[in-house]
Symmetry: C2
Subunit: 273 residues, 2 copies
């Protein structure tokens, strides 16, 4: 079989590997057969000089034939990491999801506890509760949020509730990573509501995103890294924020790309609705 | 004036700068005149191809003429950083200092709190108190220990004292860095006894070391990086641990170097006694 030369995201050359694509698809939840079929189809379509982003996109679109939510899930983990390097867009995403769940959200920055002022990432409140949320963002794959984070979130919460007017009812720690075992054990025991990648089972971050249908714009395969940055810098964080072409053009996206982008955003958000 | 070519610790070449040496000395507490005189004397003694370590050593010995404690202080901050990369020798140093202050110390590793097991670095106890110590080591200059560390130390302490048999009376956070303002504010308010570089004023880490006369072996200019590592790996952490030449030779230090080393260790420890 001829070898197809592709370009990785760091600019280095590599050979296309159908196994790698299949494995990625399996990790995303595709069946073995499905994953192999898709990777073979991708192999037929790509050509020398294509980028891993092109391959990604092909796999993404083919995967949708087998189940649209799966296709988005496939890219979701990377898409969230692409929200970085700052944690701000991730905080925005968390805020949007909680709004959809009926909370009023705010991003207060500093709130004063008994001892010091704390940088609170997100506050979510409704008639019954007022939640202090630490949104812990990492853009390195393989990182685990450890017990020290759960500990300092708890201590921060203690310091904040020592001031009655702050009136927080609970503290959450939401991250895009997995947790260490001790972090989970401590969080459960000490009353820190932990949400991360795959945790709690069936109610982790990816499920919150699926349930709210709020996919980060970084999940859109048509956008380049710079275009993603442009959207994020303009507070366009989730696909449902993309409502018309004019808005995209006004912030500097080319008209043709804006059209593709709007179509893609609608497809992604329709996929799960 | 002729330029003298020297070799930096990373192997790169540079020209000798008397200003740099003088500035280092002034930072360490030498007066302007003193610093200039010493840097000029160093300049006379060094030759092409000498290393920064050689220069350091010359300045160190000359500085002692003007005040022996100052000379050790000159190298102390770097010496502590050289205890790394792992935090273990720093924990040992803290333990040794507290023993000198009359505590019995132990390095228990894991102690179970109400929720989880915690890695406690050092425990120091006497008839009146039992202290949980977090020894926070950094080998990057310029780093500040921030409020999150003070917060998690406090939460860890809370979790530990929720188990009565642990019986801790207080928690300390000892670091070789400076603290952020918020870290200090929180620590004072929440009852975390914070000790760092220059904090508390007159009772910071450098003062604890001066008072105990327990200088890390990494302060000895005669030792190469590898020799320092060899000593640390053999639990020879402070200069007073160096008592005879045989012990040094038995762990792999050459006899000639061991003789210099013993003399130097005695000089450093005598300097402050």
């Amino acid at each position: 079989m001829k070898k197809i030369s592709i370009i990785k995201s760091n600019g280095a050359k590599d050979f296309f590997s159908p196994e790698k694509v299949a494995n990625s698809l399996i990790r995303a939840g595709a069946g073995q057969d499905e994953a192999e079929k898709i990777s073979q189809e991708v192999e037929k379509k790509i050509k020398n000089g294509d980028t891993t982003a092109d391959i990604y996109r092909q796999a993404f679109f083919l995967l949708r034939r087998y189940g649209k939510p799966l296709a988005v899930r496939f890219s979701l983990k990377h898409a969230i990491m692409d929200l970085g390097p700052s944690g701000y867009p991730f905080e925005q995403l968390i805020g949007r999801i909680l709004e959809k769940e009926g909370y009023k959200t705010s991003f207060p920055n500093v709130i004063f506890g008994k001892c010091v002022g704390h940088e609170v990432d997100v506050i979510a409140e409704n008639s019954k509760e007022k939640i202090m949320i630490e949104a812990k963002f990492h853009n390195q794959p393989g990182f685990r949020t450890d017990v020290k984070v759960a500990l300092y979130v708890r201590a921060r919460f203690e310091d904040l509730i020592a001031v009655p007017k702050n009136n927080f009812s609970s503290c959450w720690l939401i991250t895009n990573t997995k947790f260490s075992e001790d972090a989970l054990k401590y969080a459960r025991c000490a009353g820190v509501n932990a949400v991360g990648w795959g945790y709690p089972k069936e109610k982790g971050l990816e499920n919150m995103i699926d349930a709210s249908n709020l996919y980060p714009i970084t999940a859109m395969p048509s956008l380049s890294r710079n275009e993603k940055r442009l959207l994020l810098d303009n507070n366009i964080v989730v696909c449902t924020d993309i409502k018309n072409i004019e808005k995209l053009v006004s912030i500097g996206i080319k008209k043709e790309k804006a059209e593709v982008c709007l179509k893609e955003a609608l497809e992604i958000t329709k996929a799960n609705s």
